[in-house]
Amino acid sequence: MAKLNQSTSVAFSKIYSIGAARGDLTVTNDDIAGPINSSDEWITQRTGIITRKRASKDRSLMDMAVEASNEAIKKAGIQPSEIEAVIFSTITHPYQTPSAAALLAELIGANPAPAFDISAACAGYCYGIAQADSLVRSGTAKYVLVVGGEKLSDFIDPTDRSISFLLGDGAGAAIVGPSDTPGISKSVWGSDGSKWEAVGMTGSLLDFRDGTGAWPTLVQEGQTVFRWAVWEMVKVAKQALEVAGVKAEDLNAIVMHQANERIIDEMAKQLALPDHVVVAKDIKTSGNTSAASIPLAMHALLEQGQIKSGDLALQIGFGAGLAFGAQVVVVP
């Protein structure tokens, strides 16, 4: 039998850089409270959101993804042609096919890298990092571009009181590559399809095609999602720390999916995080941007000087699927 070669593995991986792009419109609570019969006070108290960023008609999901990717590539100090895989985590690319990733790869100069989308909602970025870590350490790809990007405003019913008012638009991008020292812990990730109906769309495209349903928009069973997000994700966070071999006090920051400030605060309380651990709260001005929320929040912490390169951060994403993913990373 002929001898088969497999890829040569690499010991460690790390995130080299993060890029960010948000919607161009700043949408206040007053702007959206009318159709949901609510108020600025109610929305701020219940969710922590003061404004959310949404993209106008002229600013597409791809525009934001390209902008974030170009920033990440520049900051990583690599050429786009060195990218050996492009992963785009999104639920708002409005085509069954071709993938958002294939177009993104072309637009940023990474063609002919393998390119694919991940549909894992708010766990999408952490799923992407888990995948990139594996590709790099298995020797399958040297540099991997991971983008978490959404234009959720394309799929919102402004009269929906369950989720619409939380949502925003944006894209975050990370370059993952080989490292001399550990930079990404083993991912703790999974799904729970028994709660498939807890958060998702009001109907399928087939319902829309056949005239039996309206344009599908986002909707959730808020209490079910809250209970799962807090009590189950705290267990996942603890497991991620244990697997990474770090304690809560070793962290410099925790970057949770920016679902709702109440979820973030309750999780932080249950994890008993020491005061020095910065809790990302980008949701207050960016809103909940699903797959984009973690890279946007980490980028914001870096820009604000609340964390620095070399710090340790726990990132944890969770949402529709239900799906979840977490890893401890060295901040780029």
Binding site: E221, Q223, W231
Partner: protein, 82 residues
């Protein structure tokens, strides 16, 4: 050992006070969580999960929306103790 309704009310009132800061003596059986105590659906869920732990019962998500008053919750928990 199953607690009496009065004991469940006392225990539940403690949980509600911890979560919301509302004085324990205001938390009476006839009070509506939303209308009288101004407790929103997220705080309600935290109260429910803490009550499950305290009383060793299960309160499924679909039951939570039926617990409109403190009395509804006390009745449910008292019965669920079996």
């Amino acid at each position: 050992m199953a607690l009496s309704a009065a004991e469940v009310l006392a225990g539940l009132a403690e949980i509600v006070t911890d979560e919301t800061g509302i004085a324990t003596d205001v938390i009476a059986l006839d009070k509506s969580f939303t209308d009288d105590l101004d407790i929103d659906s997220i705080s309600m869920m935290t109260i429910v999960v803490n009550a499950e732990d305290k009383f060793n019962v299960k309160i499924p998500d679909e039951e939570v929306k039926n617990l409109l008053t403190v009395g509804d919750a006390v009745n449910y928990i008292t019965k669920a103790q079996g």
